[in-house]
Symmetry: C2
Subunit: 501 residues, 2 copies
């Protein structure tokens, strides 16, 4: 309960989603309140309230009557330089009592989880609280009922889209496979058959390219809700970035601590996926589970378990969920990186001779299943219909129309600097390390540099000759290119070659 005020100042420090404020440890407010470094405080400006972590400043860049705000704190408070800021002890959050109850073994119902997600989505929980929450949810921490309640709660604290029609189709891939850019093919095929598929996708989080990143090299993707509705009304489908809307906001907060902890929580994963689907108004969802040693789902057994939760929780939320297990052992298509993946997509849509067959077949499989789920065609005949729509050019036409509606077709950029990585032996490709090649693509600049990444020339079981190019690195600068190459030289080979006997 401070009655003193401080003057706001922008620290220009990005603390991601954790709001941080900087005050002199010897300022009147800290001394009077006994605020310690790393304490959580309530910050009030312009009638807005925010919970932030306090850092003490000892050097002279900050005055005793000033408070500096990290970027997220600055934005959330809508602060301007010199604004009067009040700092208090934080209010007691009821949701933390629920969290403690969960830690001590109670099961949480909807209302408790709703309060919790409300505070999470408003950024009231510090990283420490979020880590506690993710920990209690990890492993089998959430049973199916709790997962259902959590998913509902995540939906209910955010915006929700209603398309006022049925069926509304959607697809999702539980990530980890470079080049798996099927969405850009599935949406136009399905929409071309007159089935509604308003797809919102994410940008890359840890990968070399997200669906939104790849699409952005072909058309604008940052559409607000109004633009989104206009595109979908006109073309029956879209491929937009989901982040522009406030859909399942709690999810983004949880992800920021899930990654550093790298704790697998099936309950959180299911709630994260399905809350976004339900909130975007999807009704029938096909989920692609690539199974491979380096993907999120390592075995068919694990895929079966996850599939069961997805279908069950989906049903409880009124979503018809279907899963399909796919090969996750090597990259899909040739390109890895936004523009390079977009070029693969265009090659398939244009039926070019060199279009990557595996990407095409994966897309046709998924599009076929979606058409069957939509009741557009008999079970078993969906893939044939999808192929027909691709072959006769309707898919390409629909894709171009969607790009137009989203703001106009673009030509994907090409990298100024490339270098081949060649085979140092002759033999058969026994394995391709999907993690290493993604890492190399990122070091070359992807996804920040949309033209950067890698282009594969070989696939598993291919025969290669000594000196044959295995893949080509693409980068915007010689430095970035050398950097990625230097990294690769320090690692095991991306492409493993088994010498012939």
């Amino acid at each position: 309960m401070s009655f003193e005020h401080l003057r706001a100042r922008r620290a220009g420090i990005d603390t991601y989603q954790q709001p941080v404020v900087y005050m002199r440890g010897d300022c009147p407010v800290c001394r009077a309140e006994g605020f310690e470094a790393q304490a959580q405080v309530e910050v009030i400006a312009n009638g807005r309230h925010l919970l932030a972590i306090l850092n003490h400043v000892s050097s002279d860049w900050l005055g005793s009557d000033e408070i500096a705000l990290s970027e997220v704190a600055w934005t959330l408070l809508g602060a301007a330089a010199g604004d009067e800021v009040e700092v208090r002890h934080p209010p007691v959050l009821a949701s933390l009592a629920h969290l403690r109850a969960k830690v001590h073994g109670s099961r949480l119902g909807y209302s408790a989880l709703r309060e919790l997600m409300e505070d999470v989505s408003r950024g009231r929980l510090s990283d420490i609280h979020l880590a506690c929450l993710v920990t209690v949810c990890a492993g089998g921490g959430l049973d199916l009922d709790e997962t259902v309640a959590l998913t509902r709660a995540m939906v209910d604290v955010g915006e929700r889209i209603d398309w006022g029609t049925s069926p509304v189709m959607d697809k999702h891939c539980i990530g980890g496979l470079p080049g798996n850019r099927t969405t850009l093919l599935v949406v136009p095929i399905v929409a071309a058959c007159g089935v509604l598929m308003p797809k919102t996708s994410s940008r890359a989080i840890t990968s070399a390219a997200g669906t939104a990143d790849a699409m952005e090299t072909l058309a604008p993707v940052e559409l607000d809700l109004v633009a989104l509705r206009r595109v979908v009304a006109r073309e029956g489908g879209c491929i937009a970035w989901g982040g522009a809307t406030r859909i399942s906001p709690a999810d983004d907060m949880l992800i920021r601590v899930e990654r550093p902890l790298s704790l697998e929580s099936e309950g959180l994963l299911v709630a994260s996926i399905l809350s976004k689907k339900a909130a975007t108004g999807s009704q029938r969802v096909l989920i692609d589970l690539p199974v491979g040693p380096l993907t999120k789902v390592r075995s068919t057994a694990a895929a079966e378990l996850l599939s069961h939760s997805l279908v069950t929780v989906g049903a409880a939320l009124g979503l018809q969920v279907r899963t399909v297990f796919t090969d996750g052992t090597q990259p899909v298509g040739r390109g890895i990186g936004p523009a390079l993946e977009a070029m693969d997509v265009m090659a398939v849509l244009k039926r070019s001779a060199d279009a990557p067959e595996d990407l095409r077949e994966r897309a046709l499989l998924l599009a076929g299943l979606l058409l069957e789920m939509a009741g557009k065609t008999a079970l078993g005949s969906g893939q044939a219909l999808a192929r027909e729509v691709l072959e006769d050019g309707r898919a390409l036409a629909k894709f171009l129309a969607i790009c137009e509606a989203q703001g106009g077709l673009r030509v994907p950029p090409r990298a100024a600097h490339t270098e081949d990585v060649i085979a140092h032996a002759c033999g058969t490709v026994s394995a391709i390390d999907t993690r290493l090649i993604s890492r190399a693509a990122k070091l070359a600049g992807a996804p920040r540099d949309p033209a950067a990444g890698a282009r594969m020339h070989v696939r598993a079981r291919d025969h290669v000759e000594l000196g044959q190019p295995l893949f080509t690195l693409h980068a915007g600068s010689p430095g970035a290119l050398q950097y990625a190459l230097r990294f690769l030289r320090s690692q095991l080979p991306v492409v493993q070659i088994e010498a012939l006997p």
Copy 2:
């Protein structure tokens, strides 16, 4: 694996024990490595390695070839301005695999917990990891075997003192009761009987005064191991600050996240207390458990459970632990705050007429039990012996000798500004809010200002007249005094008075 170097700079930002580094998001290293804000990075300078959280700086106070370090990062790296600093992706910590295993339900043995505590004590776990650890240990998260292994691990990763003799006595109070400053009386009484009692205490964490804070107003307490040994060799006892040594360093790291989470973990509490006792070479430990509605231990039943763990785990570590349950419903003595508490202690030692009887009797109870545990006297006669030693002045003489040995007796400071808080009704004192009075003492400046705090004039069940002083606030400035008074006016009364029928 960055090969670029950055120039070190001191940010002058106190992030408590969480090392933080500041780099421009657009600097070559961040771009090449794809370091995101809030990512954990390995920082290398002067051959020292450190794991820190990265914050991106967008404003111009930092150059693209610079890296700014928070205070703890600066200290741990022993950095100087302009030092070459390398930043890498963090190494994989084996201990995090143990942590994840625990989250997924496995029980951890000594070697896993040892690795974990090693990394914790070296500051390699981020607040997020520590929050995960505290969460899995909360409630019944640790069974007795794990608690024993954890306690051993916490001892083994830090320094350890061996006094080369027996018995070595110690006491501990599981805090939360203002004015409970018995240690300053118990140590001289026990030592005066020729029983070794080398006491290291903590400073206040959340209270208005810690034992070390109160003692410091009477004598220096920041003794290194050498000084500590010298004092103990000469006087058979000491009352020093434990923080000057590297005793159970993991414990301090865990406390920093336990507080914001306010999760009760009996296992962690027991490991925290007993690891420090074992590491300081104590052999027989008496633990005071004040039971009251606002103390850590709320009921006798809870005290019984905690007592059982303390005794069992202690035995497994070769410690003879005994507990005593005491009244935790109101402050002890009169003073609340370092100097005011020290004055109570001196009054008891000097047998002044106005010496607080409750403080004296608590001290005699504990000292008596310790003398019995040490085998100095028959069971049941310890308290009488303690009283004799206090009455005949040997306790005072020993205390003065200890102060001399620690660097010389000091006169506790007196606050320049005081104000009485008076009764607004006549009747009987029905309750005293120990939390509110501590808070008021802190707002008045304690413990930073050792003279600040509160002095109680009434106790529960006293009769009070209208306008009679209930307690006096002491502060170093009119501002601090008014601040504490303003706070009190905004709250329920500290001293509740029941009007007579």
